[in-house]
């Protein structure tokens, strides 16, 4: 019983339709205390719908979500008081300065002033916004606004935080530092529920749920999910990856071919070898710098599941 009472999030047979669109189809999963749980899936897969039901902004057609053992539908105040929620597009007060926005949220969450000051310092390390404390929020760049919104949310440290695409438009360096903050929050017992379009971030979660068209296809630790990747995977380095991709994408020798930065990834059956790929490249007069067998990353897994 206490286990259920402490379980931060438990989703059971959740179902939601908009008109004739099944946005969420019988989804079940739970999130444990102190873990970073990532919900990953293509645009329109149902991630935001699940989050909106979770924070009781939307009602499910059937099924339920409970927060610490209580149904979110009948406990709006309890949910809102204990969950920190950052929606996909969060607007701050454009006329307030960076500092004023942070103070505003610090006061709103009733954080003692001394702690507010400490937290602001920590958050400035990530956001790099300290030199712009006095600038009006409306004049910040897109990524700076996003980082300020995240910082405002993190002025309080609720037991559970829900972040819908927190790193939208955030540069690689700040993303790295933001994930350090999430990790340290989780280490101190905070539960983090996050959605993201960055596959390198999916790798940093304790557990990941992969959602497609309203269905959760797999839930596990990133390592275990990667072990479920079937087929053998190769990387072909190329100075013109899109040419290689376009020439090879429908080649019957391969299960699939994908564009990957400065090369392509080729998935094949067990019979495929480095030499066979090299021969095929040479037969088609495609240049390459290297061909090697590689281990799949989250993006490979994501692509393979989406093609099924």
């Amino acid at each position: 019983m206490t286990a259920i009472m402490n379980q931060p999030i438990r989703v059971e047979n959740l179902y939601k339709t908009y008109g004739d669109v099944n946005a969420v189809k019988k989804v079940s999963f739970s999130v444990n205390e102190g873990e970073i749980f990532g919900l990953i899936g293509p645009d329109g897969a149902g991630k935001t719908t699940i989050i909106r039901i979770l924070v009781s902004l939307l009602r499910a057609d059937s099924g339920r979500i409970s927060f610490k053992g209580r149904d979110v539908a009948g406990n709006t105040a309890f949910v809102r008081a204990n969950i920190g929620y950052m929606p996909q597009r969060f607007s701050l007060y454009p006329d307030l300065t960076v500092d004023e926005n942070l103070n505003f949220f610090g006061d709103l969450f009733r954080i003692p002033k001394a702690i507010q000051i400490q937290r602001k310092e920590r958050l400035f390390e990530f956001s790099k916004l300290a030199p712009f404390k006095k600038r009006r929020t409306g004049q910040l760049s897109g990524g700076m606004k996003q980082k300020l919104a995240l910082s405002c949310m993190l002025m309080h440290e609720p037991q559970v935080i829900i972040l819908d695409e927190p790193t939208f438009g955030v540069d690689p360096i700040s993303r790295e530092e933001f994930w350090c903050i999430l990790k340290s929050l989780a280490q101190n017992g905070t539960t983090v529920f996050v959605t993201t379009a960055y596959m390198d971030e999916a790798r940093l979660c304790d557990r990941v749920g992969l959602i497609f068209e309203g269905d959760v296809l797999a839930i596990d630790t990133p390592d275990k999910l990667l072990k479920s990747f079937t087929g053998s995977l190769y990387r072909v380095g190329s100075a013109s990856p899109h040419t290689a991709y376009e020439k090879l994408q429908n080649n019957p020798m391969f299960v699939s071919v994908d564009l990957f930065g400065d090369g392509i990834h080729i998935t094949g059956d067990q019979a495929l070898t480095v030499n066979k790929i090299k021969n095929e490249m040479e037969r088609l007069a495609l240049s390459y710098s290297a061909v090697s067998k590689i281990h799949p990353e989250m993006e490979d897994l994501f692509l393979s599941l989406m093609k099924k």
């Binding site: 899936g41 293509p42 645009d43 329109g44 996909q88 790099k128 712009f132 600038r135 004049q139 910040l140 760049s141 897109g142 990524g143 700076m144 996003q146 980082k147 695409e165 939208f168 438009g169 955030v170 540069d171 690689p172 360096i173 700040s174 993303r175 790295e176 379009a197 960055y198 596959m199 100075a239 990856p241 899109h242 991709y245 376009e246 994908d258 564009l259 990957f260 930065g261 400065d262 993006e299 994501f302 692509l303 989406m306």
Partner: protein, 247 residues
């Protein structure tokens, strides 16, 4: 042929200088990646090049046209997809395209013709009658691109076209970009996804209003002994953040 030529371009807001004497040029048909940390000055630069913001000093020519005096013609020669693309959520896909056709001053017949062309090019036919609000972000992004392409521009500015978009839609979007470039169009694109930086012919990395690096991804990786653009970017920006005076 030079598509974009910039010399010592500068923009101040009050006593803050967002873009500091930036110089570079972009060749016709090139895919030019305009990278940089948040607040580096990318959007500010793009807005000056699109004739939407007046520079404080310096020169810039886009499609041979002067940004100070010929900004009206510039708008007719370029496509611009802004960072928070502005679509009318309560119009359908087709209505959005028609609306922007009007904005660009196309005739009714031209709008009709271009709408069909763009819907097939962007594979949006099945979505044409749907409300924009109901589309997933990846589709909205395609629609935003099509509205920026209505007047058949030769230079296209894309400010973070793929932020928040899933890996499959991003790859498909880049295949569109390659196709546009192969037709001789110039693509000027910003992104925070470093795998996309690899797809560009050349990239610049901006920090605190200054261009800290500019070269092909291959050369930059060599220079920084890096296996990918992610680590090049980390190197360049962290160095610039630690010793801001050297720039």
């Amino acid at each position: 042929m030079i598509a974009v030529e910039v010399k010592e371009l500068t923009r101040r807001f009050g006593n803050f200088t967002a873009v500091k004497k930036v110089s570079f040029s972009v060749r016709k048909g090139e895919i030019f990646g305009f990278l940089g940390a948040n607040g580096a000055g990318k959007t500010t630069t793009i807005r000056m090049l699109c004739g939407l913001l007046v520079p404080s000093s310096g020169q810039a020519r886009v499609a041979g046209l002067d940004v100070y005096t010929e900004y009206e013609q510039i708008k007719k020669n370029i496509g611009y997809m802004s960072q928070r693309f502005s679509l009318y959520e309560d119009l359908t896909v087709r209505e959005n395209i028609r609306f922007y056709g009007g904005v660009y001053g196309l005739s009714r017949a031209q709008i009709k013709e271009r709408t069909e062309e763009l819907l097939s090019f962007l594979k949006l036919h099945e979505q044409a009658h749907k409300l924009t609000a109901s589309l997933p972000l990846g589709w909205k992004q395609r629609l935003a691109l099509s509205t920026a392409m209505l007047h058949n521009p030769q230079i296209i500015f894309l400010d973070e076209p793929t932020s928040g978009v899933d890996p499959v839609s991003r790859k498909n979007f880049w295949l569109l970009i390659y196709q546009l470039a192969s037709e001789g169009r110039t693509i000027f694109v910003t992104t925070h996804f470093m795998d996309e930086a690899e797809y560009c012919n050349r990239v610049s990395i901006m920090q605190d209003g200054v261009i800290a690096e500019l070269d092909s991804p291959q050369e930059l990786k060599k220079k920084y002994h890096a296996s990918n653009m992610q680590s090049v970017f980390m190197n360049v920006v962290k160095r610039a953040q630690n010793e801001p005076d050297s720039f």
